[in-house]
């Protein structure tokens, strides 16, 4: 399936999910069933998705706090006084957020970055933005590798960041990483100019 259709489907699906009132519990079961079916058809391993769902953690914490800090009538659950609307909000946040993460991961699992960039181009994302994204995706591995090499270099000299006193060392690495990335950008640009680049990519 072409990437641009997948992106459109994802946006459409999530807009429907977000617009669904949180009291319609059955609708959420249906949404989840849709995602499970899509995942099964696309042969995405459930473990792969579950492992990457950790990005959601901060908001799970926030959602769990919700029943304690929200206002409105209270109910007693297991001896705790919880806000009724807070419970409902927590459920809504968790359900919608989780569906969003699963849907997003399904897209990520079935689309390579290159396909995604081409898909967004077909969706008429401004050309400049597409190009920036293409370069970012292309050099992401290079830059993160560079960062990893610095981490190895630090570690092999016995460095281990434990507290804020070690921040200057890490910040200097950030500085070095910026200089290396920027200079690489300049080199890439010059190399492209010498091969006839005029500010837009040939088709």
């Amino acid at each position: 399936m072409p990437a641009h259709l997948k992106v459109v489907a994802l946006v459409g699906f999530m807009l429907v999910v977000v617009a669904t009132p949180r009291e319609w519990f059955a609708a959420y079961a249906f949404f989840l069933a849709v995602l499970v079916t899509v995942g099964a058809v696309a042969r995405v391993r459930p473990g792969w998705v579950l492992k990457r769902m950790v990005v959601e953690t901060p908001f799970v914490v926030f959602a769990l706090l919700m029943p304690f800090i929200a206002q409105g009538p209270r109910v007693d659950v297991l001896g705790l006084s919880l806000s009724e609307s807070g419970l409902l909000s927590a459920w809504g946040l968790l359900a919608k957020g989780t569906l969003g993460v699963i849907a997003g991961l399904l897209l990520a699992a079935t689309t390579t970055p290159q396909e995604l960039v081409r898909g967004l181009e077909r969706l008429r994302m401004p050309e400049q933005l597409v190009q920036i994204m293409a370069f970012m995706v292309r050099y992401l591995e290079v830059v993160t590798d560079e960062m990893r090499r610095m981490a190895v270099a630090r570690a092999s000299r016995g460095f281990e960041a434990r507290n804020p006193l070690h921040w200057p060392v890490l910040a200097r690495s950030v500085g070095a990483l910026f200089i290396r990335s920027f200079e690489r950008g300049e080199r890439v640009h010059l190399a492209m100019v010498s091969r006839g680049y005029t500010g837009r990519m040939p088709r």
């Binding site: 920036i132 970012m136 050099y139 070690h166 950030v174 990483l177 990335s181």
Partner: protein, 230 residues
């Protein structure tokens, strides 16, 4: 840190999306002045840099750690327009390829993280540089204060959005206090790291720091008498 799907209701999400599209459009025009035809390769590499820096964990102690958001840092390094583009692209990639930040909340995230932190961070830095003595040593502290202010500013905008399209009835004052308090602490970390990183870059390649350009242009080349080499 990114807003997930379902945090704000659908109309608010669509509205912030429209604002984000407009802001990125303006930034596209502005970036051409900052980087001309180098825009795509350089902004792409800077976007990769911003993405990578967000993976570096700064230990806070007691087993917890935080990471840089980098909006103000990017603005100081490559200029505000390019920074808006770079951080926006980072957010798009994070949302679509890593499911970090909801797809329907993408507009909200761009508005908060790419536009608000960059614009506020840049504005504060710029004003401070106007007021402070024109010395290279002043750029890093100004950038740090810009970074510090940018984080609670984004939290404040988020609270405002939540007041319009929030999906839970937390009292606004509770939310505002919690968000501002918490993000002031995060802002302190952001300021410290921005200060150190900008300082490190200034000592190696001051010409690469966009915010320092006005300061460096005033410097004269001084040739000192060479000591005789034995």
């Amino acid at each position: 840190m990114h807003v997930p799907d379902g945090f704000l209701d659908a109309p608010t999400s669509i509205a912030t999306g429209a604002v984000a599209v407009a802001a990125v459009g303006v930034a596209l025009r502005g970036a051409r002045r900052e980087l001309d035809d180098k825009t795509a390769p350089l902004a792409g590499l800077v976007a990769a840099f911003v993405f990578a820096t967000q993976m570096i964990n700064f230990p806070v102690g007691a087993g917890t750690s935080g990471h840089l958001m980098g909006g103000a840092l990017a603005a100081v390094l490559v200029g505000p327009w390019s920074a808006v583009l770079c951080v926006s692209v980072v957010l798009i990639v994070q949302s679509l390829l890593f499911a970090d930040g909801g797809i329907t909340a993408l507009g909200t995230n761009i508005l908060l993280i790419a536009v608000t932190t960059v614009v506020v961070g840049w504005f504060v830095t710029k004003v401070l540089l106007k007021v402070l003595p024109k010395r290279v040593g002043m750029v890093a502290p100004a950038a740090a204060i810009g970074a510090f202010v940018s984080v609670p500013a984004a939290a404040l905008v988020f609270t405002g959005l939540y007041a319009v399209g929030g999906t839970a009835d937390i009292s606004l004052s509770t939310l505002a206090t919690a968000m501002l308090g918490w993000h002031t602490i995060i802002g302190l970390g952001e300021a410290a790291i921005t200060f150190l990183a900008v300082g490190a870059i200034l000592s190696v390649r001051p010409d690469l720091v966009y915010a320092a350009r006005g300061v460096i242009a005033d410097r004269e080349l001084v040739i000192k008498a060479k000591e005789s080499v034995a």
